[in-house]
């Protein structure tokens, strides 16, 4: 577990039963994802994160999208409805709640469809019972989680606390920093999720508003290409389409048996889910430029380790500190499940102090990092902002100076 994997081929594996070159939806050409993702020409587009989600789904050869309104994902969910109306998505409807939507997604995935949905904050928590069921049923559904506050008093503002609840569901959990990450990982995410030795749901998280509602330059391929269609017969568990009828599985379902065999069956099933999460590493490397983390100047004694837009703010803080002669390196964590344990250990091997800025009040990422590092007193959990507060780079600068025992001028100026 938690072993670093070296890239072997750096290629996305594609089903051999897929006919590359055949027609997808609206005359799109089914294209080898390697060609689509790595070789084809891209044009710059200036788009919001929500529009980027639409752009990715347009090329995803998607079977089913089920939508429900909740800020800040409503726009993206509605834009995919437009794609459906245009003919780029095969089925689309609005469910009645996030719990129902995630169950409807499950039904569609059980029936052999490629399924995408989006949710956020309280919606993620309302849907929560479904997520371990998705993983346990080995359904490769992709849910884009546009993180926002979850707790009372009501907040619709950005906050990544909900990600902490997703970590032990058995899903893959990725954290996009930018709209470009979001775009590439939506398309790549289907390819990783649907591998026979993975076949798990993906929670593709991004920071609500900061990514969904701001415009950014994103490099997109031409619209004439789309991914190969999902092949449900590569699933490690039967597709529920009655194309291969079952026979009696057992005398009594295991739930009725209070004995070691039934416990063992459940336990080994769960072990297999988490082993499949581990096996996703090798398939994820091509999608994420060869590593589950990005590093900048990690030979320095002070490091910022972060995920999501906290990385962008950290990068700017590093620039400000550099002006004052304080040199800081950066680790960007892209995949939270599987967690890049070895990668983070290596990258932080020489660090004396490690700062973990986060957009939530509890600091779940710092806890994850502390759990895997030797000498974890080096880890300073913070700064934390929550409830929709922004994290100006100056706040990170202050935290680092405070941690290093340097008096901070900006703090003095505050009332």
């Amino acid at each position: 577990m938690n072993k670093k994997v070296e890239p072997k081929s750096n290629k996305i594996l594609v089903s051999e039963s897929v006919n590359l070159g055949e027609e997808g939806l609206k005359g799109q050409k089914v294209t080898d994802p390697n060609v689509m993702m790595f070789e084809s020409e891209r044009e710059p587009n200036f788009l919001t994160g929500s529009e980027v989600i639409k752009a990715a789904i347009k090329r995803a050869n998607l079977d089913v999208m089920i939508a429900y309104p909740i800020t800040p994902q409503s726009e993206a969910a509605a834009l995919i409805g437009e794609l459906f109306a245009e003919g780029y998505v095969r089925e689309y409807f609005r469910g009645e709640s996030e719990f129902a939507v995630m169950s409807q997604c499950a039904g569609a995935a059980f029936g052999g469809a490629r399924v995408f949905t989006t949710t956020a904050g309280p919606g993620t928590l309302r849907a929560m019972e479904n997520f371990p069921m998705w993983a346990g049923s080995r359904l490769p559904i992709q849910v884009c989680v546009t993180c926002r506050g979850i707790n009372s008093p009501l907040s619709i503002q950005p906050d990544t606390l909900e990600m902490a609840y997703l970590l032990e569901t058995g899903m893959l959990v990725w954290h996009a920093e930018t709209a470009q990450d979001l775009y590439d990982w939506i398309l790549g995410g289907f390819m990783v999720s649907e591998q026979p030795d993975v076949h798990l749901p993906l929670a593709l998280c991004c920071d609500g508003f900061f990514v969904t509602h701001t415009k950014d330059t994103v490099m997109l391929q031409g619209e004439e290409m789309c991914l190969p269609r999902y092949d449900p017969y590569r699933s490690p568990v039967p597709c529920m389409d009655m194309e291969c009828p079952p026979i009696r599985m057992m005398r009594d379902p295991f739930i009725m048996k209070s004995n070691y065999i039934s416990y063992m069956t459940h336990a080994s099933w769960q072990q297999e889910i988490h082993a499949a999460v581990e096996r996703s590493r090798k398939h994820t490397l091509p999608i994420m430029n060869g590593s589950l983390i990005d590093t900048e100047n990690v030979d320095r004694e002070i490091l910022i380790v972060a995920s999501g837009t906290a990385v962008s703010q950290g990068r700017e803080a590093i620039r400000l500190l550099e002006e004052e002669g304080i040199k800081v390196g950066l680790v960007k964590i892209k995949s939270i499940r599987p967690f890049p344990t070895e990668e983070v250990r290596e990258a932080t091997a020489n660090a004396k102090t490690i700062f973990v800025p986060e957009f939530n009040i509890r600091g779940w990422l710092a806890r994850e990092i502390k759990a895997i590092l030797p000498n974890n007193e080096r880890v300073i959990a913070g700064p934390h902002v929550a409830g929709g507060m922004t994290m100006p780079s100056e706040v990170i600068v202050e935290e680092i100076k405070k941690g290093l025992g340097i008096k901070s001028a900006t703090m003095d100026r505050r009332g």
Binding site: E96, A100, A108, A113, M240, D241, P245, P246, M250, R251
Partner: protein
């Protein structure tokens, strides 16, 4: 519609379990007029059951599985409860995911199957208890009807939570004393058949499982109408003999009492005029098929 898809690969024939071998040899796949009357003479789609001895649910299962018109293209969606304990022994695919989300799962499933098999009738049938259908899952049950989803919902109404030990449910009769209703249930049995019709079901039937002919007819009607018109609902009284203090052999009497004049389960059916006409035509077609088959045998 044939047995084609259940045929065995020759290479695997000798290692396949006897249940499967029998299914290929004598199951009634591909015969649209399969019936409860085939029970005992051909391979059933249910092996043993893990319910209590004499449980009316077990006979309901046998009637339903012998009545569905196209088991080779039927997927069941279940829910947590006594019904979910039986499905591992059923030769038709079944999804069990969570408690109460069955109509949501069925909505996604039916739409995915329509996308993937545009030219094949893939029947989706929800089969869940009254707790799942009317209490925890009522929202999703009714929303699937509002949305006019093309599948059948069957509720095994035993008027309580049986699998957890006999707690009060919304379909329990008023005044009944049970766990979680220590002074008797305070409100009336929920009128789900009427609600179902109002909510957009095109065919609704409520009955006991004492008479196999009636059950078969209701199930076939519900499946046919779901294909052509939209949602359908069948509520079957399957008393929990254990929790209402009856003996194993008393289930049938309990159902007969409940469906007698003045009882809670006098059979009722609701349907639109359009559906009435459609079902008449279906009946005529079936009669013609049977007549032709008879003529073929005697000729």
């Amino acid at each position: 519609m044939s047995k084609e898809k259940i045929q065995l690969s020759e290479a695997l024939e000798d290692i396949m379990p006897s249940e499967y071998q029998e299914m290929v040899a004598t199951a009634t796949f591909g015969n649209e007029d399969r019936s409860w009357k085939d029970i005992g003479s051909s391979k059933e789609l249910i092996e043993q059951h893990s319910l209590c001895a004499g449980c009316p649910e077990s006979i309901a299962f046998r009637y339903i599985l012998s009545s569905i018109p196209a088991p080779e293209d039927t997927v069941f969606v279940g829910s947590t409860g006594c019904t979910s304990l039986v499905f591992p022994m059923v030769g038709v695919q079944n999804i069990h995911s969570l408690f109460g989300n069955q109509n949501a799962v069925a909505s996604g499933l039916k739409r995915a199957l329509k996308v993937r098999f545009p030219d094949v009738n893939k029947d989706v049938i929800v089969l869940a208890g009254d707790g799942a259908t009317v209490d925890i899952g009522l929202d999703m049950t009714m929303q699937s009807w509002f949305r006019q989803e093309n599948f059948t919902t069957i509720c095994f109404d035993n008027e309580l939570y049986a699998n957890t030990g006999g707690q009060e449910s919304g379909l329990m009769q008023k005044g009944f004393v049970s766990k979680m209703a220590p002074m008797g249930k305070k409100f009336e049995k929920v009128r789900l058949p009427e609600i179902a019709f109002e909510a957009g079901c095109h065919y609704v039937a409520c009955l006991t499982v004492s008479k196999p002919n009636r059950v078969e007819k209701a199930i076939r009607n519900a499946v046919y109408v779901a294909r052509e018109f939209g949602p359908t609902y069948v509520q079957l009284y399957t008393p929990c003999i254990l929790e209402i203090g009856k003996q194993s052999m008393e289930g049938l009497d309990e159902m007969k009492d409940a469906e007698a004049i003045g009882g809670r389960f006098v059979m009722k059916e609701f349907m639109t005029d359009e559906v009435k006409e459609f079902l008449k035509e279906k009946d005529a077609e079936q009669k013609a098929r049977k007549k032709a088959a008879k003529a073929a045998v005697s000729a």
